[in-house]
């Protein structure tokens, strides 16, 4: 059975990079979202058992998405992939229940390690 994965990032380049980095041995059904609202919609439509989440996004940013997910007690696994790597941001992301923080530009081996850690590989 394939895993429902959503990549939420306003940048096409970054979405592509994530797509490229997802290991081929993970059978995934990938949906893309361009902002936080689209990301939440994907979660609610059951398309996001795993969510790759960017922080800087228009309409609703990554922090907003994390807060909403925390409120609705969603059991989505969130891996944040962000350009903002200052310690304050990292700390806040974990507090909001993200599973993992990865920095941009995304390193495929780090992604692989993270997925292994969740037990998806």
């Amino acid at each position: 059975m394939s895993l429902a994965v959503t990549i939420a990032d306003d940048s096409l380049l970054s979405r592509k990079n994530v797509r490229k980095a997802v290991p081929t041995d993970l059978v995934a059904d990938i949906t893309e979202a361009c902002n936080g609202v689209e990301a939440l919609a994907a979660v609610n439509a059951g398309k996001a058992e795993l969510l790759f989440l960017d922080l800087q996004m228009p309409v609703l940013d990554g922090f907003g998405v994390l807060e909403a997910l925390q409120k609705q007690n969603a059991n989505t696994i969130v891996i944040v992939i962000s350009a903002d790597i200052q310690p304050l941001a990292v700390e806040r992301v974990y507090k909001l229940g993200a599973f993992k923080f990865l920095q941009k530009p995304l390193d495929p081996s780090q992604l692989r390690a993270a997925l292994a850690e969740v037990g998806l590989l």
């Binding site: 940048s11 096409l12 903002d84 790597i85 200052q86």
Partner: protein, 194 residues
């Protein structure tokens, strides 16, 4: 202004993302060097003409100007505009000898320019997989610039605003690429987008 003149929408999006990432790295590095939290704006990408660049120099309060050229498979200049306000506090935070005279303010401006330009460009070229060399920065007076003598028509501007937590200070850094380098950049962006 015609922002779509030399790079297309996709390339622009990619460049924006690359710049966002470099800024994230830059802010992190700067925080280590300056001991103050740095607030970086999302880089603004635009096309400019010599007149447009000239209007960039207009500032109401006293400012310092410095520039720094870079060479490599892309070349251009980094121009920084740094407010006089806040320089002294920043100098203190960066452990400059106190009190600071005009000379040490100049030194600070040059150092800041070098740090900001280096931090912004470094992340960008690393992601693009290119190399470049930054020449030494120098101070300049924009009034003494004859922009009518510029021999270019369009340049790509990447503008970044820096601010500091708790200190009233502002600076703008623009990375200017000439037409030939924009073509190189566009090529690199295409490679990444494939």
């Amino acid at each position: 202004m015609n922002n779509h003149l030399l790079i297309n929408e996709l390339q622009r999006d990619a460049l924006q993302e690359i710049m966002n990432i470099s800024m994230g790295q830059a802010a992190n590095a700067l925080a280590q060097l300056i001991n103050i939290r740095v607030i970086l704006s999302i880089p603004k990408i635009s096309m400019t003409t010599p007149d447009g660049l000239q209007s960039f120099y207009h500032a109401a309060s006293p400012h310092h100007f410095a520039r720094q050229s870079f060479l490599g498979d892309m070349h251009g200049e980094v121009i920084s505009v740094i407010s006089d306000e806040g320089c002294k506090e920043l100098g203190e935070a960066m452990s400059y000898d106190q009190p600071m005279d005009a000379n040490s303010v100049n030194e600070l401006v040059l150092e800041l320019t070098n740090i900001l330009a280096g931090a912004c460009l470094k992340g960008m070229v690393d992601q693009l997989g290119s190399r470049l060399h930054l020449a030494a920065p120098s101070l300049f007076e924009p009034e003494q610039q004859l922009h009518s003598s510029y021999n270019w028509h369009h340049a790509l501007l990447l503008e970044i605003l820096f601010a500091l937590e708790h200190i009233s200070f502002s600076s703008r850094v623009v990375i200017c690429l000439d037409e030939a380098s924009i073509a190189v950049l566009a090529g690199k962006l295409n490679e990444m987008l494939d």
